[in-house]
């Protein structure tokens, strides 16, 4: 067995991107300078429509969408630079995140002319929030077992069932949902289709679910005889699984897969700074080596995308290693700095960031697929299954 197919070629971003990076840094330095560290530590979950619109005005969203549909039509590398800068700085990206990262590219590829004309310009402008309706009460890791049905009728698609854990559904403008459009046959992946749904809509009820932080970010979404127009179907009826798998490649390939806790690393460096023992510096140094390696790997994936190669296996590896890295940081920070994790209402910046990310960390290995499932995908890439 030769494993050369798993390698991560070093990739150096072209020097021509340096001005763009500088511009983003300058923008962030003024735009988020008054945000507290604990607020910034929510980064790709923090919901800030005004900030997203500013990014849109700069031309930094919808980077890969075609110009004819209002997109900026720039390369994946430019998008990469912008996204990594936003995440490393902890810019509030939750409002535009899903639309910019995955729903925009999905619609550009599979949407109807009408959908592209109306929605893609809004994504580029940072004016719309998307949510993803995949998980159901009985379909988590085993997504293909989902049961919410969309039935074709003369009046449109009639939907009945329930989604759960749908991030931002209660404040999103659109949902991209995966429904069953015909009963499963021998191929469990057959008979699923994707839909574009305008929210709020009649027959659709969102009920926010409070998470362990006390905030309500995700939802239960009920579909009770919800009637969707015929053209709500995205792509090909019955090809939903294939489309979703493509979409998840976008989801798995970005720098968000190792940067969710970056702010804690920076806080940790400052918290130990003056009194750091050699042992403490070593532990921090190990994390610096790992985060640098992850960035190189993530760049390598971006380079492969840019060259039109398929990096889905490498992307899964980045996500798996990245998740272990970021999930381990709160415990390490706690070990090195003997201060209580705190809520945002008291404590210093380090304590607040630690308290916030310590609570969020369990979700890093859940959303977008668990390590157990990812490792299965990697094993398949190794030819083990």
């Amino acid at each position: 067995m030769n494993i050369d197919g798993l390698r991560f070629e070093p990739y150096k971003l072209p020097a021509s991107l340096a001005p763009l990076r500088a511009e983003v840094r300058e923008f962030l330095a003024s735009e988020i300078k008054n945000f507290t560290p604990v607020h910034r530590s929510n980064s790709w979950d923090a919901f800030d429509p005004e900030f997203s619109r500013k990014l849109g005005a700069r031309g930094w969203l919808g980077m890969m969408l075609p110009k004819v549909y209002g997109g900026n039509e720039r390369g994946p590398l430019e998008r990469y630079v912008i996204v990594e800068e936003l995440l490393a700085a902890g810019a509030p990206s939750g409002f535009h995140w899903i639309g910019d990262r995955q729903s925009g590219p999905l619609l550009a590829r599979y949407g109807t002319e009408e959908q592209k004309k109306t929605i893609l310009p809004q994504i580029t402008a940072g004016e719309v929030c998307f949510c993803i309706g995949m998980s159901e009460p009985n379909a988590g890791s085993d997504l293909a077992s989902l049961r919410t049905r969309a039935e074709r009728t003369d009046a449109g698609w009639l939907v009945n069932g329930q989604k759960i854990w749908t991030s931002h559904a209660h404040r999103a403008h659109y949902m991209i949902a995966l429904f069953r459009t015909s009963p499963p046959d021998k191929d469990r992946h057959a008979g699923l289709s994707q839909f574009l749904i305008k929210l709020p809509s009649e027959g659709i009820t969102c009920r926010p679910i409070k998470d362990l932080t006390g905030r309500a970010q995700f939802n239960e979404v009920f579909f009770e005889d919800a009637l969707l127009p015929h053209d709500a179907l995205v792509g090909v009826e019955g090809a939903g699984w294939k489309q979703v798998v493509e979409e998840l490649t976008f989801e798995r390939s970005g720098p968000e897969r190792y940067l969710s806790c970056f702010l804690l690393l920076t806080q940790l460096i400052d918290a130990v700074k003056d009194s750091a023992s050699p042992e403490t510096l070593r532990k921090i140094g190990e994390q610096i080596a790992l985060v640098t390696a992850l960035r190189n790997m993530s760049l390598s994936v971006a380079g492969m995308l840019n060259e039109g190669r398929d990096p889905s296996l490498q992307a899964s590896i980045v996500k798996d290693v990245g998740c272990t890295f970021e999930q381990g940081l709160p415990a390490l920070a706690q070990e090195l700095v003997d201060l209580e994790p705190s809520l945002a209402s008291y404590g210093n910046d380090f304590q607040q960031v630690l308290g916030n990310l310590m609570q969020l960390a369990p979700s890093f290995s859940l959303r977008g697929g668990t390590p157990e499932i990812l490792r299965g995908i990697i094993a398949r890439g190794l030819g083990l299954r």
Binding site: R282, A289, L290
Partner: protein, 350 residues
Amino acid sequence: MSELQNILEESVARVLDDSIDNQFLTSVEENGWPTELWNTLCELGLPQILASEESGGMGGSWADAYVVVRRCGYASLPLPIPEAIIATWIAKQAAIELPEGVPGLIPQPLTSDLIRGDSLTAEIARIPWGRDANYYLGITDASELVILGRDGIALVAEDNLGRDPRDTVSFGNARLLNRTATDLPPDAVQWLCAMLRSAQIAGASARCLEIGIEFVGNREQFGRPLSRFQAIQHHLAVMVGAIATVDSMSANAFRAMDHYGINGGPGERDAKFEIAAAKCRASDSVETVTRIGHQVHGAIGFTYEYGLHFLTRRLWAWRAEFGGSGKWAQYLGEVAKAQGGDNIWAYITN
């Protein structure tokens, strides 16, 4: 990889894979220096990969060298081809010609006080293949390159855990064959060899993984191949992740050498950060790779005959050579401390 690197890797792989198997490695452990393979690799021009074409070299880059050094690790090559590549490069920096034959790299900076007139008196430990070297090369704390011959040396033979020679050589009033000022840091050999070891670790780890994948596909328990068990699949997937971090970081360190060199002045960009990160990551990953590599094999992997140990014993040795994770992690921690939280991202992405 570039087209050229693909060709280079293929040709090096062909020679190494054809020559090196368990029997060969056993025989080198028993009988020492394999002259024929050394000559073949020299004929391929591998020690000269970084020498300019005018001086008879390949005119290659550090990125090309990475391909070769990684492959040496992959093959458990019991010869100092990686060290010879470094010797050639150092000689090029000093614009001197090296003596013929096998170089013995002096791992630590030489104290200038030990040099009286044109001769050196010192006892130097852990010289790779010191017993087989035709000459010795070191850098002084004043950044001078010195070359010594074998005349009048006394030698104590020692091996590392991989059973590759790491000898103690005593020089008694040994005449310097050359002494030339350079602009290399005094500890250049340590930096460069740490980088070599990270590439060798990447290669040997990849081979461990390949052997493991093959094994679990063939070995059956409970009526099916081990590869069908999720616990085994996950073990190997974790190993893949660890190896990916090393391969990627190490390849980037060699690239950084191409771009920035080893000797930036204060505040100047050089490759030291990448090298430190590569060796730190490589040393840290050895635990995962050797633990899982052995675990999936069961008892057979613990035998001498099966030969997994030719890789894993080298991994354990290389983990510590030229600084283990502790040393390099502390260097990186100092960098982080000096930069501060606000600047570390800009530093990493520079």
